[in-house]
């Protein structure tokens, strides 16, 4: 696959602190790559490196086969967490400014946001602002879209619309690099790179990232009591309805519950992405 964006053994140090450490990452044509990680994992620094906003302390960054440059900027669309829109300009004025900067003035405002063309961006609901930011970033039909937490703070409907837009772009051949810590969103990516402490600690498709990780499902009469004792034992417990999911061995879970005179049906089931993420990141943090 042709790599639109690639980092090879990239390290970014600030003094003695490595915000990004030996990261290899690539985004191919028509591929949606999710950069998954907790706050401070190094996701935004990787994006800044790829955009050429900072230069790596070590390693190589390439966009379309060359180092980031003025020429590569024309082929990228970027939506930062802060959206990068001018609140005191209308949707149309923001569109015109960006289109003019990219010499793509012949492209008209997309119908999805044209109803808001004369409204000031600052007066729009956040979901619509994000749609505008996405449309503006896509106005020059970039080959690579870089989206930093694109659905942060928006409702489920707006999130679904945005992801529809992202998938549509990818189907037309645009490579998309998207950072998120939302697991539902991550599951929509073709490939994931999980970051922790500046490292890529896992990568691949959702199934590959989850791997053969399993959790224990415990069903008992009083899930609240069971939760309390498992939590007190230092286990990470998730509640789904009245079912508890614990990343531990079934014997350990049974032993803890029995010790507290709680009866439960315990079964081992495949982990979901969130559980796999917690497991990977916890292990990564210990590195």
């Amino acid at each position: 696959m042709i790599a639109l964006a690639e980092t090879r053994n990239v390290t970014m140090r600030f003094g003695s602190f490595a915000a990004v450490d030996s990261v290899d990452l690539s985004v191919g044509v028509g591929e949606v790559v999710g950069l998954l990680g907790a706050n401070g994992a190094g996701k935004t620094t990787v994006i800044r490196l790829l955009l050429g906003l900072v230069r790596p302390s070590q390693g190589e960054v390439s966009l379309f086969g060359a180092p980031p440059s003025m020429a590569t900027r024309r082929r990228i669309g970027y939506v930062p967490q802060t959206l990068g829109l001018y609140d005191d300009l209308t949707v149309q004025e923001n569109w015109t400014f960006t289109a003019s900067a990219f010499d793509s003035t012949r492209i008209a405002l997309p119908p999805s946001i044209s109803d808001a063309r004369d409204r000031l961006v600052g007066t729009l609901p956040l979901g619509l602002q994000r749609r505008v930011a996405f449309a503006v970033a896509f106005s020059h039909q970039p080959e690579l879209l870089v989206l930093d937490e694109p659905t942060s703070g928006v409702g489920p409907l707006s999130r679904a619309r945005l992801w529809q837009d992202i998938r549509d772009s990818a189907e037309h051949g645009t490579g998309v690099l998207v950072t998120t810590h939302n697991m539902e969103e991550a599951e929509q990516c073709d490939r994931l790179a999980v970051m922790a402490g500046g490292h890529v600690v896992a990568e691949g498709t959702v199934a590959e990232v989850i791997g053969d990780r399993h959790v224990v499902e415990a069903r008992c009469d009083s899930w609240q009591d069971a939760f309390s004792v498992l939590d007190a034992e230092g286990l990470i417990v998730q509640v789904q309805g009245d079912v508890l999911r614990v990343p531990a061995s079934p014997q350990h879970v049974e032993e803890v519950l029995t010790r507290h005179h709680l009866r439960a049906d315990v079964a081992t089931v495949p982990a979901n992405l969130e559980e796999a993420f917690v497991s990977i990141v916890s292990a990564g943090a210990l590195r």
């Binding site: 970014m12 140090r13 600030f14 003094g15 602190f17 915000a19 401070g40 190094g42 935004t44 620094t45 800044r48 955009l51 050429g52 906003l53 900072v54 230069r55 790596p56 302390s57 980031p68 003025m70 900027r73 024309r74 990228i76 970027y78 930062p80 967490q81 802060t82 959206l83 990068g84 829109l85 001018y86 609140d87 960006t98 900067a101 990219f102």
Partner: protein, 361 residues
């Protein structure tokens, strides 16, 4: 309540700019009003020309500070010395009468000189001494109208306000809203962004300048005696300095509040120490040097000179060169710093501070 007080002090301790404003500004005001805020003039630069130059000069005592005595000189020489600012008083001696030409743009110096001449005449009369009668003729501002002096200076103040405060706010807003990062990844060269940010303020300031000058002329009858191009050149150079200060302020401010604080620290000393209100010549020596590093002082020299005295370009080369030098230094520094914000790929991340910003972003 105690908790609130402690919390407030803790925040204040970490807000160094506010602390600086709280400490520096009162100290500055104290210095200004203690040493600089003086309307009394102790030295009035004076030239004496004409056949009786030496004799008349012999009678002139303080505050007259004789800078030139030329018995071959005439009225035009004395007038040119007033026009180029070499002297405030030009005494022209003739065979029958003596005339003291005075520069009406120097209100307080003229008042001091008039008072000294009157005192001289009174003392001579009392002593029965023969002192020549000196007629007074005030040039450029015959009625010593205050607004004529203030309005050319105010034009500088307006340029300073727009150039420094408004420009810095405009740039900091880009940083605060995160759009500066968007600009940095757009296909703009750093120069495109810098010039694109500065030019609108330059035009706005130019329009403001024209409006103020016209309003001053219409409402207050302030003359515009000199060359418009010379005035425009001075204004352009001064504006480049103030725009540079505005950009510099923006590069070290993370939000608009910080930018306003810093801009105040730039603007207030200029209002108080540039000669706009208090004559530079009457300030104490220890404070006077501050005036000479403030760009507004040089623009006031140019604006008052051109508007009121028709001072030609050749006589204003001094302040023009100083302003040009300041523009190169300040704007150069500002552009370099602003460019670093826009093209950070030119540097590698090495500092812990930058690191924390990048991680936090």
């Amino acid at each position: 309540m105690w908790t609130m007080i402690v919390k407030e002090f803790r925040q204040l301790k970490r807000d160094r700019r506010t602390l600086a404003l709280l400490i520096v500004l009162p100290v500055l005001l104290l210095v200004v009003f203690g040493y600089a805020a003086r309307f009394d003039v102790s030295k009035v630069t004076t030239v004496v020309v004409g056949p009786q130059a030496e004799a008349v000069a012999g009678h002139l005592r303080a505050p007259f500070d004789l800078v030139e005595i030329d018995r071959n000189g005439d009225r035009s020489l004395a007038a040119s010395r007033l026009q180029d600012g070499t002297a405030v008083v030009g005494v022209v001696t003739g065979p029958t009468q003596i005339v003291a030409l005075m520069d009406g743009t120097q209100l307080f110096a003229v008042e001091a000189a008039e008072s000294a001449l009157a005192h001289m005449a009174q003392a001579a009369k009392a002593n029965g001494a023969a002192v020549p009668a000196i007629a007074v003729q005030i040039l450029y501002n015959p009625n010593l109208t205050t607004s004529w002096i203030m309005i050319p200076g105010l034009t500088g103040l307006i340029l300073l306000f727009i150039g420094t405060l408004i420009t810095s706010l405009g740039i900091v807003r880009e940083r605060q809203t995160g759009t500066i990062e968007q600009l940095a990844v757009m296909p703009f060269r750093p120069w495109d962004v810098i010039i694109g940010k500065i030019v609108p303020y330059l035009l706005l300031a130019a329009l403001d300048l024209i409006a103020i000058v016209l309003i001053g002329m219409v409402l207050f009858g302030v003359p515009f005696a000199g060359n418009v191009a010379t005035f425009a050149l001075g204004a352009l150079l001064f504006l480049l300095v103030t725009l540079g200060m505005g950009v510099l302020v923006s590069t070290v401010s993370q939000n608009q509040g910080q930018a306003i604080q810093l801009a105040i620290m730039f603007v207030v000393p200029q209002i108080l120490l540039s000669g706009l209100i208090f004559p530079v010549s009457s300030m104490a020596g220890g404070v006077q040097w501050i005036a000479y590093v403030l760009p507004l002082k040089y623009f006031i020299d140019i604006s008052r000179g051109v508007m009121l005295k028709a001072t030609p370009l050749t006589a204003l080369w001094g302040p023009l060169v100083v302003l040009a030098g300041m523009a190169v230094i300040v704007l150069g520094l500002a552009v370099l710093r602003f460019r670093r914000d826009l093209a950070p790929s030119a540097r590698r991340g090495r500092t812990a501070e930058a690191g924390s910003k990048a991680v936090a972003a």
